[in-house]
Symmetry: C2
Subunit: 417 residues, 2 copies
Amino acid sequence: MKYSRLFSKTSKTVPHDADSANARLLAQAGFIHQEIAGVYTFLPLGLKVLRNIEQIIREAMEAVGGQEILMPAMTPKSVWKQTDRWDHFDALFRFEGMGDKEYALGATHEEIVTPLAKEYAFSYKDFPFAVFQIQNKFRNEPRAKSGILRGREFAMKDLYSFHTSEKDLDKYYEEVKKAYLKLFERLGFDPQITYTTYASGGTFSQFSHEFQVLSEVGEDTIYTCAKCKLAVNKEIIDKQNSCPECGNSDLKEKKGIEVGNIFKLGTKFSDAFNFKYTDEDGKQKPVIMGCYGVGSSRVMGSIVEVFNDEKGIIWPKSVAPYQVHLVSLGKDGVVFKAADKLYEKLSKAGIDTLYDNRDLGAGVKLADADLIGIPVRLVVSSRTLESDSAEWKERDKKEAENVKLTEIEKKIKVYYS
Amino acid sequence: MKYSRLFSKTSKTVPHDADSANARLLAQAGFIHQEIAGVYTFLPLGLKVLRNIEQIIREAMEAVGGQEILMPAMTPKSVWKQTDRWDHFDALFRFEGMGDKEYALGATHEEIVTPLAKEYAFSYKDFPFAVFQIQNKFRNEPRAKSGILRGREFAMKDLYSFHTSEKDLDKYYEEVKKAYLKLFERLGFDPQITYTTYASGGTFSQFSHEFQVLSEVGEDTIYTCAKCKLAVNKEIIDKQNSCPECGNSDLKEKKGIEVGNIFKLGTKFSDAFNFKYTDEDGKQKPVIMGCYGVGSSRVMGSIVEVFNDEKGIIWPKSVAPYQVHLVSLGKDGVVFKAADKLYEKLSKAGIDTLYDNRDLGAGVKLADADLIGIPVRLVVSSRTLESDSAEWKERDKKEAENVKLTEIEKKIKVYYS
């Protein structure tokens, strides 16, 4: 993509509501645009990152046997009445349609997925199974804040699992727990800053688990155990004031962003919808459920909170909007021609390249490249062409080096392999 | 995917609201599940088809220079007030959030995309450009009907183009018109049944154009010209009662499903949001806009309306949920083993296969395959194994043939090439 053609450009204006690095940098670099507090448009660069994140999440969910479906955002009042959440779930956006029909916007989907699963699973032979979706959720938040960390409309992956026994749920729950840690690592977070965190289990289980990424802007206060790489959320520190794994009571207080959470639902929803299965002896028994969320747009915001410097964003390789940011410098026709040629060559080789071919000064173009934060920057100038090279600089490194034009394609492929 | 593991199964129950082939067949074959009238969950098979359709649409939009973005479903009251549609657009779902804030669910996105584009385009040099999204729309329909043909929440692609002159819009409009015809052909519709149809242009242009697929369940009445392959929508037949191309007045009345529409918006929305550009002489001029829709879930329903028989759906190759439906027949362990082996082989070769390995009678399994409608069915039985073969049958053909197990992979690749 030629930067001159790209719909969204960088901006020097700091958004007035930029209370966090992700709100400021994603808007200034042209990834997102705020429409209402807590409601954003994903611009071409931002949508590419979001889709990359979603694809990594999708693969992780398929690896634990999840089948992808897509439930609607419009949900009927009746199902929320049935679980007694219509009147008690503050975050529900409720609205009316013709014929005095009442609806809620999906803030979560247990109320839809439980009666849905009941249509297709009857016998113990049909269990266990898990379905997931990647879809926008809506929450009537009193205060939207921190850019795409806490929004009123946001992208989320929600997985639901269905079992015939607590034991089977426990086994699957541990499997997903492990898969989540792998997932967050693949999304770019250093395992050293991602904490599986004990949190409140609600009425039906002792604990749930959150996945907290350490960050100063995090809304959550957690207490980490240096030995076990586990943490305890402040909300349950009275109940659990030492490491649940090793008993260590020397816990450190930290701030974290909750990027995922997993929850044993037990029979809370299957009871409400009378979802039972027939066991080996022909008896009817209640289905046991678990649910597993990852906020995909929140992950994007969290990545920016964790990976940035004074110049801009530093995208991890796995989710970057483009693989290479190619910049031509100077007014020399020979340079433009050489950069054009390199762009063509990279494109043909299937290397996703953002090419800044604008007739602007070096300062602006290099600052934009740093702000946007693509992992590899290639600069073509009269000076680099003297040695038939382009300057190679990785966004997270200080040094740059000249690389022969003939060697670049190979070097990119090695870098991303 | 092993059919025994697939979340959604076929059902003998005809849905009570099945007023059309797509509502009945898609529900019975396990592609969709109705949650509310006009609101559906896409089950694993259905989501695969929808994603295939969306990818074909995406490629067509990128080919006409469209850049993909994703706007929110939640939109503020203020922008609808600015175009005077808050009080006059009946299909808007309106709702309230905390702090007495009022919102509408996106029924269309001119009100969002126009002020958005204004943030990034200023000079004539920034034009023309086009952005599109693929996203769920919400409409407060008095009566949802015909399955996924007319829903209250439905998937849609909407492209918006921005120009500095009527002439430039006209040129782009013709380009998209051609791209649409190619697109619908790629989606599986015979060009013989897809009509570019003159329709009302609203207040700002003489005509708009719809793309109508002939079908008895279509809501639209159109008048077709046999010579020019054009049609006129009944809504403007008083204004235009002969073929706009050749003047032929011997038009035939037909029923059609509107799968796409394109519209010259002129300055209607740029005026409302005061979106101007600076021309070569430094003068401020209003931006000229066009919009171009395709209902992606409606396309899915239309395909089923056009491609079905008494046994079930007949998916076109380009959008089918799987490439091959593999069926093992009989109780013979040797057969199951051979079918397992073939499934492994096809999967390894990257051939997307639905494998019905259930221990059920031939009648049920073959009927399910016909209902689901995957283009190629392969049957492995004791009889076919006698000649080291599987039975190859295409869903839209009567005849079947035996194909050597060693030849199948190649034959599938040729079929889909």
